[in-house]
Symmetry: C2
Subunit: 174 residues, 2 copies
DNA sequence: CAGAGATAATTGATACGTCAACAAAACTTA
DNA sequence: TAAGTTTTGTTGACGTATCAATTATCTCTG
């Protein structure tokens, strides 16, 4: 950056940015609290349970899960260890590729996600969707992918540059 | 919850929810990376520096900052300790209320936030505002406060139930 | 003014995310 | 098939967020 070519935010933009920042912090934080209180887990753990449970009978490799959630492998590895310790998942070595593993939900894992889902979905509906009219929903649906796309380009070269959704595509059901 | 009165998400809603979740994770995460790489700090630290620097010459108490940012006091306390260790802020006990403190930016703090601002604002503009057309901006501006309001009600009784912006209101400049 | 309660801020334990370094297995290609 | 490269997944160190408990000060009420 030579001189000062920074395109600073207008007052309007600053206001909106503050609202967005607050949303970016408050929403995940409240969601964590909801899951902690109602189901003794946090967003990350729920995301993994939900991702795996979407295709009953399927077993995923960590890499699939990481890609579906757009997560760092390391983060997932740490979390899977904790979840295995809690008895929520089981791992079996992948016979086709012995670097990898097959991750499955245990009975306890299934029970846990089934019990957690209603109150969590209720939270998401009441905090989010009930506050959106049709127009606002459409706007989000058109705006956010553009932002995610920009972020993806920004990240190019970094952690997760995969082009996604192979996990969903390979799901036998749905 | 008696029977199963859960209002599950429709397929459309599930799609949107996935996009939102991704945004909620990817954006802050990329922003942290931007600040770390360009300015050796994270979002929290930048937020505090920016909040304090908004009213030059003013000194804030931690409680003011916590309220303006809608943060937990404990989180702020830990962060202020680290920032003081780095030499970014200074604390002086408040003569009017000796429970409290006066927090000010040091010269290094000022220099740091001035140097960090351009690339950070550029990130926010390029990743966020450049992807929003006018209509989408308006939609966010109308939707997010409703969501924040719902979250506020959800939190009622928890950490931060204050009704905000006393810090901004008391700002001599602007 | 005494005591009860509220408020400001800190602290320590714990859990989680990130990063860089690593090990093992699988591809690639010459 | 051997050497180099990529991919899969783990590990440990470190920074940060959260929660409950604690201290110090202030305010209110009788």
């Amino acid at each position: 950056m030579s001189a000062d070519e920074t395109r600073w935010l207008s007052e309007n933009e600053q206001e909106l940015w503050q609202i967005i920042r607050e949303f970016l912090w408050q929403f995940p934080s409240a969601m964590d609290r909801q899951l902690t209180q109602d189901s003794n887990m946090q967003t990350g753990e729920y995301s993994v349970l939900a991702a795996i449970s979407e295709c009953p009978g399927t077993s995923y490799r960590p890499a699939d899960i990481a890609e579906a959630l757009r997560w760092d492998r390391s983060r997932l590895s740490h979390l899977l260890r904790r979840m295995e310790a809690k008895g929520l998942i089981s791992r079996h070595s992948d016979e086709n590729d012995r670097r990898g593993q097959q991750i499955q939900l245990t009975d306890l894992g299934w029970q846990t996600v089934r019990e957690a889902a209603p109150s969590h979905v209720t939270f998401v509906r009441e905090m989010l969707f009930d506050s959106l009219n049709e127009e606002e929903g459409k706007a989000l649906r058109s705006a956010l992918p553009k932002i995610l796309d920009a972020l993806g380009k920004y990240n190019a070269g970094a952690t997760c540059k995969a082009d996604a959704s192979e996990m969903a595509a390979s799901c036998p059901n749905s």
